[in-house]
Amino acid sequence: MNEVIAVEGLSKRFGQVQAVSGLSFTVHRGELFGFLGPNGAGKTTTINMLTGLARPDMGTIRIGGIDCTQRPRAAQHLIGVVPDESNLYPELTGFENLCFCAALYGLGKAERQERARRLLDQFGLAQAANRKFGGYSKGMKRKLTIAAGIIHQPEILFLDEPTTGIDVAGARHIRQLIADLHKAGTTIFLTTHYIEEAERLCGRIAFIVSGRIVRTDTVERLIQSVRDKHVVQITCSKMPDDMGTRLSQFFPGLELTSQGRESIRVEAGEPIRVGPLVRFLEDQGAEVAEARRMRPSLEDVFVQITGIEAHAMGQEQEKEKAGAG
């Protein structure tokens, strides 16, 4: 039995809002499957239905071979869940929270404490083990919530936007932890609105927009569709207004998109020679600050398939890039 999660025709409506409609997908054992979509796409609603916190209006769910459609909580011994918001007890310490969560799965006292200590170490929270969870910083809370979701060593882990609102270093650490869990054999279902995160971590990705899956495929195959595309990003410190028009007259084979007043994105189906472009711009009175070849990324695929501009997916991503670069 290789299909650990099998979903067929899943739909859910809240009053006027059709949160999820007709989702079908499967997740295989040991896979890291990503659900990538903008705010309000229906990611959390899907996780809630898969984990027994919500009942689907239509469709079927099988988790680990157990039919959870009629009995939403039937497969809970198999799963671990890290929700989008921390739901631990603010009045308990980090250590107590972890021990309590382990107890919910029936682990004995010695084992609970041993695992809690190990996880606190692994997540860099050993110093804060005896502090109240309520006083933790956002990043620490996030990490402890992940630790609490895996303390019973579940076969299948659901992660709802694990790095949202976390600084660059914290997010990187969390991604490393997720990658390690995946290597250790845990099947992971991850939602995110960070395209780069999905690209870096996931084996297969479903693009979800307005409650529908628009495309599911492996990251390689998704990128394959834009692999033959060549992109150059040109940034100018000074640029005449009609530069775009002049460029497209002179270089008819290139596809040009202006991004703001200072930046032009050049795309073509064959390698682009940067030199003539820059020379032309300078001749026309522009001052070129930078011309950069871009590796085609999942972002391009996402934009192409969903029609959603990547920057609409959230400002934090921009912040993160700025921080990383």
């Binding site: 916190l53 909580r73 919910l104 029936g106």
Partner: protein, 245 residues
């Protein structure tokens, strides 16, 4: 074993974080004193009336102690989402809710014995039938805990839970025959008395303390037990319907 560990730790966590907090303990002590003093002053009969007042004070201590706690252990945890963690655990919902309410039952029983201990110093309790009294206290604690649970899952805000419980609690003080015999109530209020669980608990307590009860003990027990099962079942149904969206 696995389920027992979960059950016990949920209970223990609630006891530690909610019930054994100084404000709750002092509240549990102060409350019976205040009630006793109030009725004492009002009746003006002196120490003889202690035995007459004891069932009422015991029942109210349990009622207020248990119902107010459920607003915290259930409504508050639902609101701040930690309740989700419990719903995600591989525990049958029935067992989960018994664990969440178990602490309140114990707290209610403990509250009941505060006025009893105080009465020990003021009156002669030798004629009290403890074999009836103790089970009665336990059953009242269970019934009012489940009433609290019923209220806690019917609302979504803590303040609503508080308001809604007063809607039940204050009429109960007057309608359950704790301080005013049901026979003396106006005719149109009598049916109301008989649909309140505390009426049967109060009857058991009166019987145990001074031997004046109006219904046979097994009938009281059966009816009170029926209320417990009914309230618990409705609460579970409400959780399944409203919280598992």
């Amino acid at each position: 074993m696995r389920l027992w560990i979960a059950f016990w730790n949920i209970l223990l966590k609630d006891m530690r974080t909610y019930y054994l907090k100084p404000p709750n303990i002092s509240w549990g002590l102060l409350f019976p004193v205040a009630w006793t003093a109030m009725f004492f002053i009002k009746s003006g009969k002196g120490l003889d009336s202690i035995l007459a007042l004891l069932p009422g004070v015991v029942a109210l201590s349990i009622l207020f102690g248990t119902t107010s706690m459920l607003a915290v252990t259930v409504t508050f945890e639902k609101k701040n989402r930690s309740f989700e963690r419990l719903l995600l655990a591989p525990i049958p919902l029935e067992l989960l809710m018994l664990a969440k309410t178990g602490g309140a039952v114990v707290f209610g029983v403990a509250n009941a014995f505060v006025p009893v201990l105080m009465a020990l110093f003021l009156a002669d309790l030798s004629q009290v039938n403890w074999i009836v009294f103790v089970p009665a206290v336990f059953m009242i604690a269970v019934a009012s805990t489940f009433l609290g649970l019923f209220i806690a899952v019917a609302v979504s805000e803590v303040f609503e839970a508080q308001t809604f419980s007063n809607f039940f609690r204050f009429p109960m003080i007057f309608l359950c025959g704790l301080f005013f015999p049901i026979e003396k109530l106006p005719v149109f209020l009598k049916p109301l008395s008989y649909i309140l669980p505390l009426t049967y608990g109060a009857d058991m307590l009166h019987g145990a303390v001074h031997g004046r009860q109006s219904m046979p003990f097994p009938l009281d027990t059966a009816l009170l037990g029926g209320f417990c099962v009914g309230l618990f079942a409705v609460s579970l149904w409400n959780i399944k319907r409203k919280w598992i969206l």
